[in-house]
Symmetry: C2
Subunit: 219 residues, 2 copies
């Protein structure tokens, strides 16, 4: 419950800060303005956030911690676990969609915040890659980095469509988009797997055989 209270408290401050940034502009809003709007002291603000910039992404910290906690549990399939973690993050943003949407507007206007957002998003990618490496020490590195990057980019793309374009995208849409992310680069490493090719329906059987042979010879 302490965790929930802290989350609620931080989200309140984030919400007030983003409202002020939208109204007055990011530069013109001071920490005192934010503290006043959130009904806290300047000191309490600085106990929770290092700087004005930090408050903009404070809910990312909450979700990064949730994703890390989730991944630290036990999972049958680490690839699936990463997809589940990404859905959990998506669900978090939908819980406070208004906050996420006002951030989208504020961040778009301030170059320093755009950069900070890119860095923040990269932390999910690194969390996913680090988890996969520790859960599957024998997994091919390239498969891990490609998967972590694709899952993060997919999540981010769908989140942005939901926030910016108001498209209704449910958890289950996100889950099914993530299920399509290739874990494929992992397979050619194992002798026990068959290689996959995708080709146009109209392809001549001989050409199919040729392409398959090429692919098999390469791996």
């Amino acid at each position: 419950m302490a965790g929930d209270d802290s989350t609620r408290f931080r989200l309140t401050v984030v919400g007030e800060a983003l409202r002020l940034f939208s109204e007055k502009g990011y530069e013109a809003t001071t920490v005192d303005d934010i503290a006043r709007a959130a009904g806290i002291s300047r000191r309490t603000f600085f106990r929770q956030f290092r700087a004005k910039e930090d408050v903009v992404f404070a809910d990312h910290e909450i979700l990064l911690a949730r994703a890390a906690d989730f991944l630290a549990g036990s999972h049958d399939d680490p690839w699936d676990a990463v997809c589940d973690a990404a859905v959990l993050v998506y669900d978090g943003f939908t819980q406070w969609r208004d906050v996420a949407r006002s951030r989208y507007d504020v961040v778009r206007e301030v170059a320093a915040l755009r950069d900070r957002e890119i860095v923040t998003i990269f932390r999910y990618e690194r969390l996913f890659a680090d988890y996969l490496r520790s859960a599957m020490p024998d997994a091919p590195d390239l498969a891990v980095v490609q998967f972590a990057a694709s899952v993060t980019a997919t999540h981010n793309f769908l989140l942005r469509r939901m926030l910016r374009d108001g498209v209704r995208i449910t958890s289950s849409d996100v889950r099914s988009a993530l299920a399509d992310v290739s874990r494929g680069a992992a397979e050619p490493e194992s002798d026990d797997d068959v290689i996959v090719a995708v080709f146009p329906r109209g392809t001549a059987p001989r050409r199919v055989a040729q392409l398959l042979q090429q692919k098999l010879e390469r791996s």
Copy 2:
């Protein structure tokens, strides 16, 4: 030739700056120190670079411009063109491997530079995604963002292994790693493609049929 001269000039300044950062530390090195070492005036420095931080990544600007120029040309297969652009960037770094390696050491020590590097790398991902969208307006968005993210992550992973671990990784290694990046999410959108699934060699034929059916029904 003017372009080449400018590249050489900028690389000289970058090289001197990185050497000083390694020797004296990033914070302790001033723009005057860099200008003196590179044999240029402070004014010339500021005509080329906005700030000390910019000089660290100036060769990325060169390579981003090269990649953008390359992609602006005509290409049979846009997916292949992105892989070619990534190889071209890799080749650039191998041309000035010492610069890239000293940057690796300097960036590791300075949090602000690490963030700046993440933001810089993201510009390749955005360049690739933007190009794919313009070259193939009908390509599924998810396929585009996943591919751009995977290609960038793959390039970056191999570059880091080459720089940090001294592993010999040739252009052709990079090319073949990139050839394995899935363009797969694109295919299920087209009625004209056949889906092929990967399964362990030992799988019972009935199970194979079942899995294929599931996959086909989903797409």
